[in-house]
């Protein structure tokens, strides 16, 4: 496959190889089609004992625990956990505001790096990876698949996507939560410039659908610091009205608004059990991903 030999700007093999040593786990049971390394809601044939169950007619006699029968004179069936793969759905915000970047890297480029690496890691460990690029609606989408050819296509999509248009993140996320089969891993990479209250409903929807939702909240250092010396004319990257402001004059109120918003987003995340990661663009994406993966390992794959 020629596309595999392409050099992707958002992929760094050295980083991927380092990250590859850390397993990419889900926080809750996933529903995959093949065996994998993730917990499944169903009983299966793994080596990990789950429970004893009374024998009911029709059960496979091979699964009877004869030793238990010997001890208790009752028929028990020994059950084991099932291991399955997961469907990792990467949702990348490609609205206009994602084009912003004061550190030389735009938020979209950063998002691409995250999405690319995560897709690679997922496919590498046998999970299916899909992509949904979201702006005014779903701009591009690829259903989750686990074969390497699909990965190449996914990379192509990621490479081609560009930031443009307004954000309709909430509506699109609702749609994705509903249309994707239950128990998938959703990774949303966005600057989340939407109303936190709407976000809350959206996240609850994901929770209801038993999806594992992870949020990478990308923020540029300049957006956080808002340190300008001169009067500025701010052009809306999503096509809204321009704002003329004396930064010294407005900085206080900007920070108040920003602080309030960030506090609210965090609150919503806690309430809806979203795996929330606030990422400054100044941070190295490898470090961000390591933190993410290691954190998941520690929680240890809940069944």
């Amino acid at each position: 496959m020629s596309s595999e030999h392409k050099i992707r700007s958002f992929l760094e093999p050295a980083v991927l190889s380092r990250l590859g040593s850390v397993p990419f786990l889900a926080r809750r049971p996933m529903l995959g089609k093949v065996s994998g390394r993730h917990a499944s809601p169903h009983r299966g044939a793994s080596v990990e004992f789950a429970e004893y169950r009374k024998y009911v007619p029709g059960d496979d006699l091979r699964r009877l625990d004869w030793r238990a029968y010997g001890r208790s004179d009752r028929h028990y069936v020994k059950e084991f956990e099932a291991d399955t793969n997961l469907r990792c759905c990467l949702v990348v915000d490609t609205s206009g505001s994602m084009g912003f970047g004061s550190t030389g890297v735009s938020k979209l480029a950063y998002a691409k790096k995250l999405a690319g690496a995560l897709a690679y890691l997922a496919v590498q460990q046998g999970d299916a990876a899909g992509l949904a690029c979201v702006a005014k609606g779903v701009v591009r989408s690829l259903p989750p698949r686990r074969n390497p050819a699909h990965l190449a296509e996914l990379f192509d999509q990621i490479e081609q996507v560009e930031s443009a248009g307004p954000t309709q993140l909430v509506g699109t996320l609702h749609e994705l939560a509903e249309t994707t089969a239950q128990r998938a891993l959703f990774i949303v990479i966005s600057d989340l410039f939407v109303d936190p209250k709407e976000l809350k409903e959206c996240f609850e929807h994901f929770r209801f659908r038993k999806h594992d939702l992870t949020l990478f909240h990308l923020l540029d250092p300049q957006e956080l610091q808002f340190s300008f010396q001169r009067p500025m004319r701010f052009l809306d990257m999503e096509g809204g009205t321009a704002v003329f402001a004396e930064p010294n004059e407005i900085a206080d109120r900007y920070h108040t608004a920003l602080g309030r918003y960030l506090e609210l987003v965090k609150q919503v995340s806690i309430e809806t059990a979203v795996d929330y990661h606030r990422v400054s663009m100044a941070d190295d994406y490898e470090r961000t991903l390591t933190h993410f993966l290691v954190g998941r390992t520690r929680s240890g794959g809940v069944r």
């Binding site: 250092p221 004059e249 206080d252 920003l258 929680s299």
Partner: protein, 669 residues
């Protein structure tokens, strides 16, 4: 407000620099594509009141800082209202200095007197205010004197102390005359005085005339009054009231009466009074319990048989050194000689009696009778009075009489039997009038001159005189007594320092009852003698500045050595003139500490541009001060305020939110 470096004010437009920079900055905006618009829009919706005020405040403080700096380097001058008053540069600045003895009063903290301090303050004020001409008029000479520079005020002898009382209306009149004569432009008149009521004569009629005449100047006159009305606490003043030389068994002595007065303070104290007479010193301790203490006839023995001499009485130094000394001279009184010239021998006897009987013991009087042609042989310099009943003389005799009167002698003219058209002192006799009824005197001057009341206050019986015949003198005279029709019985004409009197009738029984009711005649003749004898008195006690005297031949024997010799008549001391001795002392009114109330002073300058310059003789501060420090401090305050407002507020740590919350966000997971 005035500035020492006014050209620096040209930099004031720099104050607009912060505004300009602000405007330029506003135009130098950058355009930026921005993602987080929702926060900007939200921030815009929030109340921006304080932030806007803060921006304006910062701008205002920056402007103020520059203004403060520019004003500070322009070296502004001000002192209360003075700063406002001394706005423009005056064409002429006239300085009126009150040199009266009360201006010698010293402050408690400062060693300089009111006069020195006032002059010094005005000099420093004028040095910084600026003017084209400076003119000094002092209360002694009343002569305008142009100064090269205000600092000359400090060294000018005309600003030294004097013993003569000041006459503020006369000073202002001199200033007015100077302005009129020199066509002065915008004029500032500085007055340095201690507001003594006797110097200011606030009740006098001249003030209203002065006000009007100053108001008539179109160019504008501004008055600055630098007044020191503070009274000296516990100041003692000494005054010799009587000096008498008398013979004793051992020789002779001088009897001295003196008064010590003080202002305020009722404690009983003992004051050592020092006497110095002909070089011999003695001391007397006087107890002072009230405000005044008197010593009567304190004997001072004379060491020699000198007929005349002088001495000093002095008190210890106190707040006002000018009233601690009193000079006196003593001598035997001279013989009072009267020359009687009468064409009618019948007239001689009453006149001779009236002239030769001495009015006081110890005073010798004598009268000689001369014919009109013998008068040329009269020793004029020893004579006090001439009684002339003959046609008015002319030629050499008239000239001799004129000189005699001009030098202080007295002449009483009685009408001749046959009046001629001869004229002396612009007066001539008219024809005799014989009224049907004897005339009585209707009015006479009982307050002064020949017919004034006696020492005990009783009026002379002028009204009891009966006049049968009279001959009116024609000419410009001052009537002392008049008939009902207004014709004068006694008239006076001043010539030089003496006086000529005209009596409209004679002492003949057929003419009047002047001789038979001799009291009026006697009193009038004796007073005329006394007036004429004054010039003969070998020793004189004079009040400084009173009367016009030729002081060119005066030799100073005692007194302030720094005083100008031309001001001898105005400086306390003892002077000799040929054989005579003169003691000059301050006037009695100087001891009256009455001060004009502020409202009264304001009233005197009503309608004129006038301000009081506040200063105290105790104060160490100057009148005009450079106040650049104030502006510098203002600038610093403005800068500190600006810095405080510009200080970035402690922002919520949103800048670090991302990294620090990474862990927190993960904790949720």
């Amino acid at each position: 407000m005035s500035f020492l470096e006014p050209w620096m004010l040209a930099a004031l437009p720099l104050a607009a620099l912060p505004i300009l920079i602000h405007l330029i900055n506003q135009r130098r905006f950058q355009t930026l594509d921005w993602g987080a618009m929702r926060f900007l829009l939200e921030a815009n919706r929030m109340s921006r009141g304080y932030a806007r005020i803060r921006q304006w405040l910062i701008l205002a403080l920056r402007t103020l800082a520059i203004v403060g700096l520019v004003l500070a380097v322009s070296r502004p001058l001000a002192s209360g209202r003075l700063g406002l008053a001394a706005g423009g540069r005056a064409d002429t600045t006239i300085i009126l200095v009150d040199r009266s003895p009360s201006m010698q009063q010293r402050g408690k903290q400062v060693a300089s007197s009111k006069l020195q301090r006032g002059v010094d303050q005005i000099a420093s004020a004028l040095e910084s205010v600026g003017s084209s001409r400076w003119v000094l008029i002092d209360s002694v000479s009343l002569t305008p004197q142009e100064l090269e520079a205000p600092k000359r005020l400090r060294t000018a002898p005309q600003t030294g102390s004097a013993s003569a009382a000041a006459d503020l209306p006369a000073l202002l009149r001199a200033a007015h005359d100077y302005m009129q004569a020199n066509h002065a432009g915008q004029t500032e008149i500085w007055i340095c005085s201690d507001l003594r009521a006797n110097d200011w004569d606030a009740e006098g009629g001249e003030w209203s005339i002065l006000r009007d005449s100053f108001q008539e100047f179109p160019q504008g006159v501004r008055f600055h009054l630098l007044a020191y009305p503070e009274a000296a606490p516990a100041n003692l003043a000494l005054r010799v009231t009587k000096v008498e030389r008398q013979k004793t068994r051992q020789g002779s002595e001088v009897l001295l009466s003196l008064t010590i007065t003080r202002s305020g303070d009722d404690n009983t104290i003992r004051v050592p009074v020092q006497f110095e007479i002909d070089g011999a010193r003695s001391e007397l301790s006087v107890e002072l319990s009230g405000l005044e203490s008197t010593v009567e006839n304190h004997p001072l023995p004379l060491t020699s048989e000198r007929v005349q001499g002088w001495g000093i009485v002095s008190l210890p130094a106190d707040a006002n050194p000018a009233d601690n000394q009193f000079y006196f001279v003593y001598s035997d009184p001279p013989i009072r000689r009267t020359a009687i010239v009468a064409e009618n021998p019948a007239l001689v006897r009453p006149l001779q009696l009236a002239a030769s009987i001495a009015a006081a013991p110890g005073v010798e009087s004598e009268a000689v009778v001369l014919g009109p042609d013998q008068i040329a042989t009269l020793p004029w310099e020893e004579n006090s009075l001439v009684l002339w009943q003959a046609p008015l003389p002319s030629g050499r005799i008239a000239a001799a009489l004129q000189s005699f009167v001009e030098h202080g002698g007295s002449v009483v003219f009685f009408p001749p039997a046959n009046p001629t058209d001869a004229n002396l002192f612009d007066v001539e006799w008219q024809a005799w009038t014989e009224p049907a009824e004897p005339l009585a005197v209707a009015n006479w001057r009982g307050d002064q001159d020949l017919l004034s009341r006696t020492l005990d206050g009783a009026a002379l019986p002028v009204g009891e005189l009966a006049i049968y015949r009279y001959c009116t003198p024609k000419g410009e005279t001052t009537p002392l007594a008049t008939f009902p029709d207004g014709a004068p019985l006694w008239a006076r004409r001043d010539i030089g320092s003496g006086a000529a009197y005209f009596c409209a009738t004679t002492v003949l029984p057929g003419d009047s009852t002047l001789a038979s009711d001799g009291i009026v005649l006697y009193a009038a003749v004796q007073r005329a003698i006394a007036g004429g004898a004054e010039r003969l008195v070998a020793t004189q006690q004079r009040v400084a500045g009173v009367g016009s005297m030729d002081t060119s031949k005066w030799q100073k024997l005692a007194g302030d050595s720094e005083a100008l010799s031309t001001e001898a008549a105005f400086q306390a001391g003892v002077y000799s003139l040929d054989e005579r001795l003169v003691a000059v002392n301050r006037s009695t009114s100087e001891d009256a500490a009455a001060v004009l109330a502020d409202e009264r002073v304001d009233g005197l300058f009503e309608g004129l541009e006038y301000d009081r310059v506040a200063d105290r003789v105790d104060s160490l501060a100057g009148l005009t001060r450079e106040i650049w420090r104030l502006f510098l401090i203002g600038m610093i305050v403005a800068l500190v305020g600006e810095a405080a407002l510009c200080l970035p507020k402690r922002r919520p740590a949103t800048a670090n939110l991302a990294s620090s919350d990474l862990a927190k966000g993960r904790a949720v997971a």
